[in-house]
Amino acid sequence: MAENGLKRTPLHREHVEAGAKLVDFAGYEMPVQYTGENGGIKAEHGAVRNHAGLFDVSHMGEVFFRGADAEVAVQRLVTRDVSRLEVGQAGYAAVCHESGGTVDDVLVYKRESDYLVVVNAANREKDLAHFRLNTADLDVEIADESEGWALLALQGPEAVGMLQRFTGADLASIKYYRFVEGEVDGKPAILSRTGYTGEDGFEVYLKPDDAPGLWKTLTDAGAVPAGLGARDTLRLEAGMCLYGNDLSDDVSPLEAGIGFAVHLIKEPGFIGQAALLGQDLDGAQRKLVALEVEGRGIARHGYTVTDGAEIVGEVTSGTQSPTLGKAIALALVDSHAGDDLQVIVRERPVPVKIVGLPFYKRESQGTT
């Protein structure tokens, strides 16, 4: 832990050496961007879109569910029907309150003998309390092993080819949202074909002591260190939700447009199922829409959305898209709002256009 009370990942020294600008993110001292020739949000973003970028996401939480009732517990806690997952498959899911509001959005990995649920760093304690409170009657061990794992994300069109040089695993045979347990750079690792950038790539879970070596191997091979700033612009272009912005305790996954991660009919049911079924039948009060700013200005998180006469919602995420060269945003608006919307940018209404998601889609989806 640093003197400022923030936790550090196993890659702290590597970040400092790479000239990282470090910020407090969910209690961790994390790189928001790097300095130097390849540094800066736009350059890091471009490196991921065009080559390969390397993220330290070791702050994410790794929670294992073990025991006779592990699957029953996970089924109860998440919106996806995890019984449909095969061993070696991962699924994106929401964790809900009874009200339908979202506790967290997670990745569920089905392994041979347990489930790994990867949670957002900022929600880790809240999630654990929710998990334990709601499974007290089950024969399940819920183990927070976050401190025992580092996580690197190598993303971009060159990512898979680059990583292949350092592993015996046949990466081409691992489909999107599948994973294998093998070795990278001679160290044991879980290799997961997942990511949060809209590009092909892998997320590599490994022991903290092994992380600096892999970081060096991959950066020596040409991967560009990329920080949280680029991660945010990349995920927004790819239309992916960020908990705390687009999803929260009082926003349901259906409202936030991640209904694909909600299996409303499943056995056993999940916490929040009744509320979400109701929203599905009656229609949710709000919907997440994708906006392109047509006027001048940037729509940012928290800015008001109007239909010209009334306030109809709020921007949940917004930025200037480095790839598209225009301002893009996600906004949570009343379901009945029309299509003729404006965002108030410093007291000035700026016209916006509703568009489809994602804002950016890579040309080749790789092996899916």
Partner: protein
């Protein structure tokens, strides 16, 4: 960090070059570096008047919005139209091509900082 000696500086990280009755205004290299890649500049209308210390526009990077404050009182006579299409000039050349606005002024800017005073102030900022 570059800090031309012939400019005056505001604690709010604007610089100004006062020639005759015209004050050219931009933001310092330090401010541009702190903001990161500038992607948008909101500039005032020609003819608008501002008191020293008053916000006259904003500069936005990918991640942040930052107000621009007039280092001297004056009337806007010109803004840098090139920034509409190339706001990155603020990062690339903050003291020349990245200028933002010109004010007609009779304010000598006596309260502003010299290059060395500004450097001291920003060093203290950390």
């Amino acid at each position: 960090m570059s800090l031309p000696e012939d400019l005056k500086y505001a604690k709010t990280h604007e610089w100004t070059r006062i020639e005759d009755e015209t004050a050219t205004v931009g933001i310092t290299e330090h401010a541009a570096e702190e903001l990161g890649d500038v992607v948008y500049v909101e500039m005032p209308e020609v003819g608008a008047t501002f008191e020293a210390g008053e916000s006259f526009g904003t500069v936005e990077s990918v991640k942040a919005v930052s107000d621009l404050y007039a280092p001297v009182s004056g009337e806007v006579v010109e803004f840098n139209k090139e920034l509409e299409d190339a706001p990155e000039k603020i990062n690339e050349d903050p003291y020349s091509a990245g200028w933002i606005v010109k004010l007609k002024t009779s304010d000598p800017g006596d309260d502003l900082l010299s290059a060395s005073e500004y450097k001291e102030a920003t060093d203290t900022d950390g």
